[in-house]
């Protein structure tokens, strides 16, 4: 590996909106063709031709946000790269429109500038990614004493971004994504971009003019999705527990860290009890579960779930945990406790590989909400991950259901 630091002149290479849109369209069709849940409409959606432009802190274009529409309704937003130095042509696919309004944020930012005493020029505003993924309105103005200046206001709450620039302390400042993240890893990111370009070319050859039509899903889907045995099978199937199955709730299950080294079952209980709207702190749950100096027994956990819910919940211990049993619980929209030797976690999702090579078993995963690493602040620890079912020894499940 070369130790030479990449420079902007080598790797910063702007992407035109039309080229970025082609990647966006491919991404939109792919998530639909792959059978990804919640993206069912994206097979016949249209990608706007005029993106919202988001700049880097250094002034260059960084992202293009393309609205994805079904008729006139915005069903999502694709964030595409406006510079090859970013590496991946498509950064994110969001369900639903932006949660903030450009017009409101711009108007609010201009008022804030006025309030600060700077003379403003309403034409000088732009959107800036100041600390990925946070976006601000950059409002140009001129202070009578300091001369021309620009101010940043976060689009979600209009709070001013006061500390920015490379000379500020890391962690409290904003930063240029291109200069500080992308370009120092220019070689790697450029190779990613080249791979994506080749992929786009190959897809264009395969689907020709159909890709952007958005009106012929039946013919388009088989060309984009993997197709063994000449019939359509999504590459992965998956499901997660949802608070509101009728809505696209962004957070489906909440992770809490364990507050002590022996509170894994307690924190797991807190996550599951919260899901059912029984809200208790960890010491209360520990008392109900009979947690001792070395942890919690499974009997104690079962008793705790039931007593804390006044028997509104029925908890069942299963010491022959099987992946299909976890899947059945998730499909019934119920999170469960997953036990491995000496440790408890919550499980709120499953994923399965549908297509494998002959002779190889399909991969299966569980979405684990692990309260470890522990932290006194329950919102500041733990981990959420997809765990290969075969990578750990599953000792038990506890199913928690309405009585």
């Amino acid at each position: 590996m070369s130790s030479k630091r990449s420079t902007r002149s080598e790797f910063g290479e702007p992407v035109e909106p039309t080229a970025a849109r082609q990647h966006a369209v491919l991404a939109v069709r792919r998530v639909w063709a792959g059978g990804i849940p919640d993206f069912e409409e994206w097979g016949f959606a249209n990608v706007d031709t005029e993106p919202l432009i988001i700049h880097d802190l250094n002034g260059a274009r960084l992202f293009y946000d393309f609205n994805v529409k079904v008729k006139k309704r915005i069903v999502g937003v694709v964030r595409a790269s406006a510079d090859k130095a970013v590496g991946s042509p498509v950064i994110s696919l969001q369900l639903g429109p932006h949660r903030w309004s450009v017009d409101d944020a711009t108007e609010g930012a201009m008022k804030e500038v006025e309030r600060s005493g700077a003379r403003t020029d309403a034409t000088e505003t732009s959107l800036v990614c100041y600390c990925y993924p946070k976006i601000a309105v950059r409002a140009g103005g001129a202070n009578t004493e300091a001369g021309p200046a620009s101010m940043l206001f976060d689009v979600s709450d209009l709070k001013p971004v006061e500390r920015y620039g490379a000379d500020e302390m890391e962690g409290v400042s904003s930063y240029s994504f291109l200069d500080e993240v992308a370009i120092p890893e220019g070689s790697l990111r450029r190779s990613r971009w080249e791979a994506a370009e080749s992929d786009l070319e190959a897809s264009r050859d395969a689907v020709s003019e159909d890709l952007d039509k958005g009106t012929a899903p039946a013919t388009l889907q088989p060309k984009l999705a993997p197709r063994p045995y000449h019939r359509l099978i999504p590459f992965y199937s998956s499901n997660t527990v949802k608070f509101a199955p009728r809505c696209n709730a962004p957070e489906v299950f909440r992770l809490y860290a364990q507050q002590t080294n022996v509170y894994c079952a307690v924190a797991t209980g807190q996550m599951i009890l919260d899901f059912y709207k029984y809200h208790f702190d960890q010491p209360t749950i520990a008392a109900a579960m009979g947690t001792g100096a070395y942890g919690t027994s499974n009997t104690g956990q079962v008793n705790g779930y039931e007593s804390l819910s006044n028997n509104g919940l029925d908890a069942t211990y299963d010491n022959t945990a099987a992946w299909s049993e976890a899947k059945a619980e998730i499909d019934a929209n119920r999170p469960l406790k997953s036990g491995i030797p000496g440790h408890a976690r919550a499980c709120a999702g499953w994923k399965r590989q549908n297509i494998t090579l002959i002779g190889q078993p399909p991969k299966r995963w569980l979405k684990i909400y692990d309260p470890w690493p522990w932290n006194a602040n329950i919102c500041n620890g733990g981990a959420v991950y997809w765990e290969d079912w075969d990578s750990v020894n599953h000792t038990n499940f506890i199913y928690v259901r309405h009585a």
Binding site: N261, G295, P341, P373, W374
Partner: protein
């Protein structure tokens, strides 16, 4: 009886390749979308309590901060891939290392618990129990005999008598 494992342990290059593939497949998850613009850091070896190599932990970085990880097992398969729970919306609050704190800080925290007649080992990154329960392990010695195991994590420290395995009947 402790068995001999003759399978070759995967190299850093091998596990980094496996991790790169893994983060591609999960980046459609809404809370892991940022993996698309993330980069992988230097793999960290996680050992058993007896010091044997057990699996690799590969940091998923955004700038200098670590928000996610890939766990690659000793057979080269990806055991888990995901994010840490630390303030997912604010990368500047994330740790700078996949181990939460570095060995130096673990040593410093453990040293506050060391008695006058005790000597402390260098910290070793281990999993205490099943994969995922990771912590820095500092073993203390009194008159040449192992006395205590002090486990240090980014949140707290805890300890038990040296050589005593985690009680797996309790969780």
């Amino acid at each position: 009886m402790k068995g001999l494992n003759l399978e070759p342990f995967p190299t850093k290059n091998e596990v980094t390749r496996a991790a790169a593939k893994a983060i591609e497949t999960v980046s459609l998850d809404r809370d892991l979308e940022w993996f698309r613009i993330a980069s992988l850091g230097e793999p960290v070896l996680v050992r058993t309590l007896s010091g044997d190599p057990s699996y690799w932990l590969i940091p998923v970085r955004l700038k200098t901060r670590v928000g996610g990880f890939v766990r690659v097992m000793r057979d080269g398969t990806v055991g888990a891939v995901g994010r840490f729970g630390v303030d997912p919306e604010h990368p500047h609050n994330w740790p700078t290392t996949v181990t939460g704190i570095d060995a130096e800080e673990a040593s410093r925290q453990a040293s506050q618990l060391i008695a006058e007649d005790e000597q402390a080992s260098e910290p070793m990154f281990v999993h205490d129990g099943p994969p995922g329960r990771e912590a820095w392990l500092v073993t203390t010695f009194i008159a040449g005999s192992a006395a205590r195991w002090i486990f240090v994590t980014s949140g707290f420290t805890y300890e038990r008598r040296a050589g005593e395995p985690l009680d797996t009947d309790l969780e």
